[in-house]
């Protein structure tokens, strides 16, 4: 039990103190058990206050601190640092969020915001009094990385990882490196050839001694955790065992393969996918010839196999619009007098790719917009494609057009073998079947498995630039973890009480990270937690029938004391806040219903009334009644009782 606690309540320059009576809370908290010092400060995070806190801790011999300010996302590390510098354990500190959760959220009700802050700070004080001193865990890490998939993203990431000092194992399933780009022709924006890009990258890889490339290699069993993964690789019937600190998955994507008959696909040799069409363009010389006949017009049909609101692939593949327009411009550049029809849903040539669209429309390419519910129809008559489409830019006028060739602009789909990779590395797969990151913006290359990162189009549709960028950010993340040779892990992990545990397997079954395994101890089987893989998510604690597993910093004592602290009744005086709103006085507790509920309940009283009727009876504005009634309905205080006689309003009655 910590008995010498310091409490610091932040004004945040008015952000908090305009709505929460910080001064009064500061005085009230001083009376709490174990609190030695309680202050309200203008900016808790300022250098001056940090110094003052260190002074207080040393002078008053404090053993724990509570800071009530903003979200822990912002300043946990700041105040852990303060604790450490003052010589107390950094885990004997608790952050209470009274800005995002009180003053900002309840700026319309300063009194309630103050009451809520009171509860939260008390909860924080109670929690910190049970806090333990914890030490972060150090594990050794292999300075080696397995990069799975040697496409442009994997190759580029391998180069960077190697240059930053890790040994890289670049594992490729195919016979050659380069992936999809190796067969591509001219690329936007540099105009370079795909083959040249790959050749140049491969040259750089060969010059780096700490990259080992395995081609015709397949990923086998994977075990271990961050810092020490053990990976089996089958290279031409030879089994290799690799020990790496981290894994970067850059397995890429597949192009959507149109079904037979989809926009005439496979019904005529004049219906191409964009990839095959590009090969035809590459091979053409002077004149674009197909089957011995010159090609005079081409119809590109966009979003094939993509953006299907009812189908499998709901997403947009981002790069296909640009790819199709780029192809069209290549055709114009190489061959003269070829007309192009772009039958599209939305043109998404974002950023500089817009220049391609502009150039194409300047060249006279015709753009025809359709909607998913009325897609173009491709009929093949005497092996000649004949297209009908409703143009949404001409008030859905039905248009027909002749095209010598039809090009299906297909999107990207997840690789068919991605489920296999996923089961080996335990990377979750999204509803789009691509690999899932933790958060698309905050943690875009991290997976829920510590040490396993994803980059490039295996995560979702990306163009080459974006693929390489994401793989490089994965490389940077990996380097940040592995460079020291050891990894410091948060000690907030699950702990097993070996006496109480009887290995019922329930915790292991729910663990998403495969962190709980049985071991023998004192003649019985008990659960053991792998600290390196455990994320402290806490899912194991509630399922344990013997209450034998708990999470550090979230022990039962801590959580229960927080509830006690939060639910205490506050005695807050009415005061005029200096710059902010007025705090109305009176007694209020967190568990009480709003006063207005009582009025509503008494007015309904056994009958069934509509909102205007309740409003009239109680004399409270009807929209206020509506808001509260909806909440009461949600919490099963009231329930709807059918329509009134002229069917304009629902009636509500009390729920028994």
């Amino acid at each position: 039990m910590k008995q010498r606690i310091g409490v610091y309540i932040c004004h945040c320059g008015g952000n908090i103190s305009d709505y929460v009576d910080v001064e009064q809370l500061g005085k009230l908290m001083a009376k709490e058990d174990g609190v030695i010092i309680s202050k309200d400060v203008m900016f808790a995070c300022s250098d001056a206050n940090q110094k003052e806190m260190i002074n207080d801790i040393n002078e008053k011999q404090l053993d724990a601190i509570v800071v009530a300010s903003c979200s822990p996302k912002l300043h946990t590390h700041t105040f852990r640092g303060v604790a450490e510098r003052a010589g107390i354990n950094q885990y004997n500190y608790t952050q209470v969020n009274v800005r995002e959760q009180c003053s900002w959220a309840h700026s319309d009700k300063p009194m309630d915001a103050t009451v809520k802050a009171y509860g939260l700070i008390r909860a924080g004080i109670n929690r910190v009094s049970y806090s333990e001193s914890l030490e972060s865990m150090e594990i050794t890490a292999q300075k080696a990385v397995a990069v799975i998939g040697a496409g442009v993203a994997g190759m580029r990431a391998a180069v960077d990882l190697a240059r930053m000092g890790s040994h890289v194992y670049l594992i490729e399933k195919e016979n050659d490196v380069g992936g999809k780009i190796a067969t591509a022709g001219k690329l936007f924006m540099t105009g370079e050839n795909g083959k040249e890009v790959i050749a140049r990258l491969y040259q750089r890889i060969k010059q780096l001694p700490n990259i080992t490339v395995f081609t015709s290699a397949e990923l086998g069993k994977v075990s271990g955790s961050i810092g020490n993964f053990f990976i089996d690789v089958n290279v031409k019937n030879e089994l290799l065992k690799l020990n790496v600190g981290s894994v970067l998955v850059t397995t890429g994507f597949d192009f959507y393969a149109p079904k037979e008959g989809e926009f005439g696909y496979q019904l005529s040799d004049k219906v191409f996918t964009l990839q095959n069409f590009n090969k035809l363009v590459e091979s053409g010389n002077g004149k674009l010839i197909h089957n011995g006949k010159p090609v005079k017009s081409i119809a590109y049909i966009y979003c094939v196999g993509n953006r299907q609101s009812k189908g499998e692939n709901k997403y947009c593949s981002r790069q296909c619009c640009t790819a199709a327009i780029h192809s069209s411009l290549n055709v114009h550049e190489k061959f003269e007098g070829v007309k192009a029809f772009h039958i599209y849903r939305d043109i998404r040539t974002y950023g500089k790719q817009e220049l391609l669209y502009q150039e194409s429309s300047r060249k006279g390419d015709i753009y025809i917009k359709f909607e998913e519910k009325e897609p173009p129809v491709v009929e093949i008559k005497d092996n000649k494609p004949f297209i009908k489409v409703k143009d949404y830019l001409t008030s859905k006028k039905e248009l027909t057009l002749d095209a010598d060739l039809v090009v299906l602009v297909t999107g990207m789909v997840a690789r068919t073998d991605s489920s296999e990779i996923s089961s080996k590395l335990k990377i979750p797969i999204g509803s789009d079947k691509f690999f899932n990151e933790i958060h698309p913006k905050l943690k875009p290359v991290e997976t829920v498995i510590k040490g396993v990162y994803i980059g490039g189009a295996c995560q979702g549709p990306k163009n080459i630039t974006e693929s390489v960028q994401s793989a490089l950010s994965g490389a940077a993340k990996i380097n940040a973890v592995l460079r020291k040779g050891s990894i410091a892990l948060e000690p907030i992990v699950a702990r097993v009480n070996s006496e109480a545990c009887a290995w019922c397997n329930k915790c292991s079954a729910v663990c998403e990270y495969d962190a709980v395994k049985p071991i023998e101890s004192n003649g019985k089987m008990i659960a053991e937690v792998n600290n390196a893989t455990c994320t402290g998510c806490g899912i194991c604690a509630p399922v344990c029938p013997a209450n034998a597993i708990e999470i550090a910093q979230y022990t039962d004592n801590e959580i229960e004391s927080m509830i006690d602290g939060f639910s205490a009744t506050a005695n807050i005086e009415q005061r005029e806040l200096e710059h902010g709103a007025k705090v109305e006085g009176g007694k209020s507790g967190m568990k009480e219903y709003p006063e207005i509920w009582n009025h509503i309940v008494t007015s309904i009283n056994g009958s069934a009334l509509t909102i205007p009727e309740i409003s009239e009876k109680t004399g409270i504005e009807s929209n206020l009644i509506t808001w509260h009634l909806m909440t009461m309905n949600k919490y099963s205080v009231v329930e709807p009782a059918g329509l009134n006689s002229d069917e304009t309003y629902y009636k509500y009655k009390l729920k028994k």
């Binding site: 017009s297 007309k339 029809f341 502009q358 429309s361 300047r362 006279g364 015709i366 753009y367 025809i368 917009k369 009908k388 143009d391 830019l393 001409t394 006028k397 039905e398 248009l399 027909t400 057009l401």
Partner: protein, 357 residues
């Protein structure tokens, strides 16, 4: 169902259209256009039809004639697709479609055709004058006679059949069911628009619009009344002081206003003057020359020096003949008729729709 014709873009560009296919259908042009209404919206629709090459839809439309080219759409176009200039080009294209002889199209597309036509007129006049032994009196008499014949002939042979074709494309083929009563009821529309260009004033209500409308209005009045003064009041031979001064006034109006128009086209300040086709230049310059030579001829008569400077009358006659048999039937002059008839047909369509409902 309409068939897309990608070749149309090149065709319409020969009539002066700029890169209108740069349009990405934002609709700013339609939003800014004061003439465009919910039921009759343009110019975006016309830009779209032109990009797709839906010739039949354009041919049956009266919308190009609803535009008076204030140029707002071209100024505000984020893609520099110049919708205003496209509408202008569509009017040229429509003129050539209405013309049964096909000469309009030839003249619009080939400057050389214009020049050959003008040269042929000069040669013809010299041969004709030589045949009359350069007898001044006979030539002047012929000049007067020619005016009457030209008006009657051009109307009967070229313009009336063309208006009939316009009616065919815009009323008959789109199956507008209009009773004779409707034709009578809407008729006032034709006269009002022909003599006042009232709709012009509905363009963006600014001082510039009012000035443009006024210039155009007095030019039309001046032109029509000078025609009347020379043909029916025989200005050049008249002794009536009122007729003489009226003729002076009318010819001054014509060459002053056309001079302003020519300067506008040279200065290219406003969007509607940025692009000028040969047909535009010939129209304003020839009108200017007609006004100034007519003025000079009458002045020379009053000063009694025409006989010694008969070349002046020959110049005037040349300009007049070129105007009457090239520019009036096949050039820009026809917009005077087609635009007024477009308003008339539009009214007929509107009334027919009302009856149908």
């Amino acid at each position: 169902m309409s068939h897309i014709n990608p070749e149309f873009v090149e065709e319409i560009k020969k009539y002066g259209a700029e890169d209108f296919h740069l349009c990405f259908n934002c609709g700013n042009c339609t939003a800014i256009c004061s003439q465009s209404t919910k039921d009759e919206s343009f110019p975006r629709e016309m830009v779209r039809y032109s990009t797709l090459g839906l010739e039949d839809d354009i041919k049956s439309s009266l919308k190009p004639w609803m535009c008076y080219y204030c140029g707002e759409c071209s100024t505000d176009c984020p893609r520099q697709a110049h919708p205003g200039e496209l509408m202008m080009s569509l009017r040229r294209w429509l003129t050539s479609k209405y013309d049964w002889t096909g000469l309009s199209g030839l003249l619009y597309k080939h400057l050389s055709a214009y020049i050959i036509g003008f040269l042929l007129v000069i040669v013809g006049l010299i041969v004709f004058a030589a045949k009359l032994d350069w007898n001044q009196e006979k030539i002047m008499h012929f000049g007067h006679l020619f005016e009457m014949l030209a008006i009657a002939g051009v109307f009967a042979i070229i313009l009336l059949p063309n208006i009939f074709r316009m009616w065919l494309y815009t009323i008959v083929r789109p199956k507008v069911k209009a009773t004779v009563k409707v034709y009578f009821k809407a008729f006032s529309e034709l006269l009002v628009h022909m003599f006042t260009q009232k709709r012009f004033l509905e363009c963006e209500k600014t001082r510039e619009t009012q000035i443009r409308w006024f210039e155009h209005f007095i030019l039309v009045l001046g032109y029509l009344s000078l025609l009347f003064t020379t043909v029916f009041l025989d200005w050049f031979s008249s002794k009536n002081i009122f007729v003489i001064w009226l003729g002076y006034l009318e010819s001054v109006v014509i060459f002053v206003v056309t001079f302003i128009f020519i300067m506008n086209r040279i200065n290219k300040k406003e969007a509607n003057h940025k692009f000028s086709q040969a047909s535009d230049w010939f129209f304003v310059i020839w009108l200017f020359l007609m006004g100034i030579t007519a003025f000079a001829v009458r002045l020379f008569i009053d000063l009694n020096i025409l006989e010694s400077n008969f070349w002046l009358f020959m110049v005037h006659l040349t300009v007049l003949v070129q105007w009457a048999i090239i520019i009036v039937p096949f050039g820009k002059w026809t917009h005077f008729l087609y635009r007024s008839f477009a308003m008339y047909f539009e009214k007929i369509k509107e009334l027919a729709m009302q009856i149908k409902k």
